[in-house]
Symmetry: D2
Subunit: 213 residues, 4 copies
């Protein structure tokens, strides 16, 4: 069982990105899993190209992309990527598209085929706040999620994949008021649980994880 | 120019739904618009059937559905409906589907073809907090939004349509801590601006209105 | 029955202060009340001097000071002023004291002698979100509250007085994310209710209005 | 150097109180400090009596009381205790006083004489979110803070003392939406830093730590 996990480099004025900090510290209990860890640039298009190259190179069974969700409280497991870019800020190479499709020949959205409910349940069972999310935004995180699911749906139908959003680190909020955060230890532990849950879950569980709005 | 606007009945323990309260009070300045106002039941499937019947009956140019987004701060103009129901609570007839598609032959998502950016801009120009939203949740609001866009894409290609989420009313939060709200007067004024902006906007403006996550 | 009500001028980068905007629009139903409305500078010391002068000049029975509480959701009726200045930003004349007492011969705190519970109840009965607050901060709002109560305790024992914090106006948050606001109409209506409740309440009601923390 | 530190037992429907969980796990680096750890009942009056007895028995140089602040984001170092009880819920023995003084012969408020600014700075230097708070509420936390400062001001003038509020633990918010939390490891580390900073700081630093409101 090979799992490719990606994190982004810092963006939006932050000097650190909790997603990559966490994934590079993962220590698995399950020795049947070979984990490949990659840092991806916070750049439209290029992030998908990097991911595609890495998939070709490593031939994983599962791909888990991760990113920073500043302002969210729990670990959020994304349900769906949508075919749009609408960038409130520029990416790390200055691109700022407005209402552009990610893939002109792609569907309007793809649903993650990770066991998102089983992952949320495992995290909560391990006392880590977690929820399903129904939007990965319209910036680079949604971009890589949609891009990954497009690749799965068009080129790699045997791969399971999805996206995890993590809160700011403690140190990122010491100068921000009323902003949620999570320790690097907790996020790293969450990542380990996510990887191991994805590895062993054949079929997702059926439990409500919806949002009123 | 005929516009059909819908609001929901109360749900989730509330005794009032700000969406219908507001739309039934709209007073338009633009006399070229004929406005048809309907209350829709907060019930899966049935809400879409009611909407379809109303569309057949009234033959509108534009359909705007509206609903309550308890916990949101601004008026939010929804960008996309997704093909899933995942109900955290039961609807008003006791249905609580988990991870079920809304339409088995529908696309995974449809984008609103209302001028969502022009609407947000008009609201802000009139000093009313407003944002584009990238998720209408997975309950009945997303259900009617997806259902409307499915109808537009399969049966009524000439219609423009979308969904507006409104915050709790002031009176709904007097017993809730740290919960945002908006006065009925402000929501009603917002609805008027939305209807009149939708009526006169041929092509949406291109302005960023995205979300990082 | 004469009531002196004060609001502050804009501060902290805002171009408007909801407190003064609201109080100058109050229209009372109760014709037995003579209402005197004053704008006070957002400046330490000077605001208290201005208030003292106005009290001497108008000889009110009740003094209600009001100010902007950006970030709060409901109307908040302050319970207590504390004898300290700790300014996170400079006041409107550039003063920024740190951990300085307001009055070197004053008590460590004074409790408002307005009927704060009756005021909260009247507001909620009129469908306006309201709470007792146990801190007016350590900037100019606490400064005028403490200063008023110091004056009442040392010079004007027959006067009843206190402080009301109001949220941002709608227009102040159109460019701020996840920030609560209230319409000018609602804040103005709240101010009218507060003035009329203060005027007719001899003894405050006994109802819980506390905070866990 | 002897330091007495207290935490509360669980209250308000929670099965755990992060304050006591954290303090009983503190491991100090500074071997000059003798740390005495006590669990205090979440009960008005009785908590102060327990504290007084413990102070007599252990003769500490510094007393740090701690408690749970559900809903707060950072570690908060309280500046002031006020002479009032206004209980929104009953304490653990069913007492629910409204607008009652804590000590009929006490001052209206007492300021903490812990080095609150130095403590906040140490925490932030160690990447732990922290702020000064200007209200400990009107429930049992403010009760013990005010009670401690009353004891210091009337019986133990050589003691330094104050109060620390800590957020919910991760596990306390897995079933609460949009509620901040902090890991037990982080809170425990924070407590160690607070104890060691209090022990070595003769005079507090002068740095702004105020609140606008």
């Amino acid at each position: 069982m090979k799992i490719l996990i990606t994190g982004f480099d810092p963006f939006g004025g932050e000097s650190i990105n909790p997603s990559y900090e966490a994934i590079k510290r993962i220590k698995l209990d399950n020795s049947d899993i070979e984990l490949v860890t990659v840092e991806i640039p916070t750049v439209f298009d290029k992030c998908i190209d990097t991911l595609d190259r890495k998939i070709k190179e490593t031939e994983p069974d599962i791909v888990i992309c991760t990113g920073q969700a500043g302002g969210r409280f729990p670990i959020t497991v994304e349900r769906v990527g949508i075919n749009i870019i609408d960038a409130r800020i520029a990416d790390n190479e200055g691109n700022q598209y407005i209402d552009a499709p990610i893939k002109s020949d792609g569907e309007s959205a793809y649903f993650s085929n990770l066991p998102i409910k089983a992952i949320v349940k495992s995290l909560i069972n391990n006392k880590i706040p977690a929820e399903v999310s129904n939007t990965a935004g319209t910036f680079v995180c949604n971009n890589i999620l949609y891009g990954l699911l497009y690749l799965i749906n068009t080129k790699y139908p045997h791969i399971k994949g999805g996206f995890i959003h993590v809160p700011f680190l403690l140190e990122q909020v010491t100068d921000k008021r009323n902003t949620p955060s999570m320790s690097l230890e907790t996020i790293t532990e969450a990542m380990k649980i996510i990887v191991e849950t994805a590895a062993v879950t054949e079929t997702d569980i059926s439990e409500q994880g919806g949002a009123i709005c």
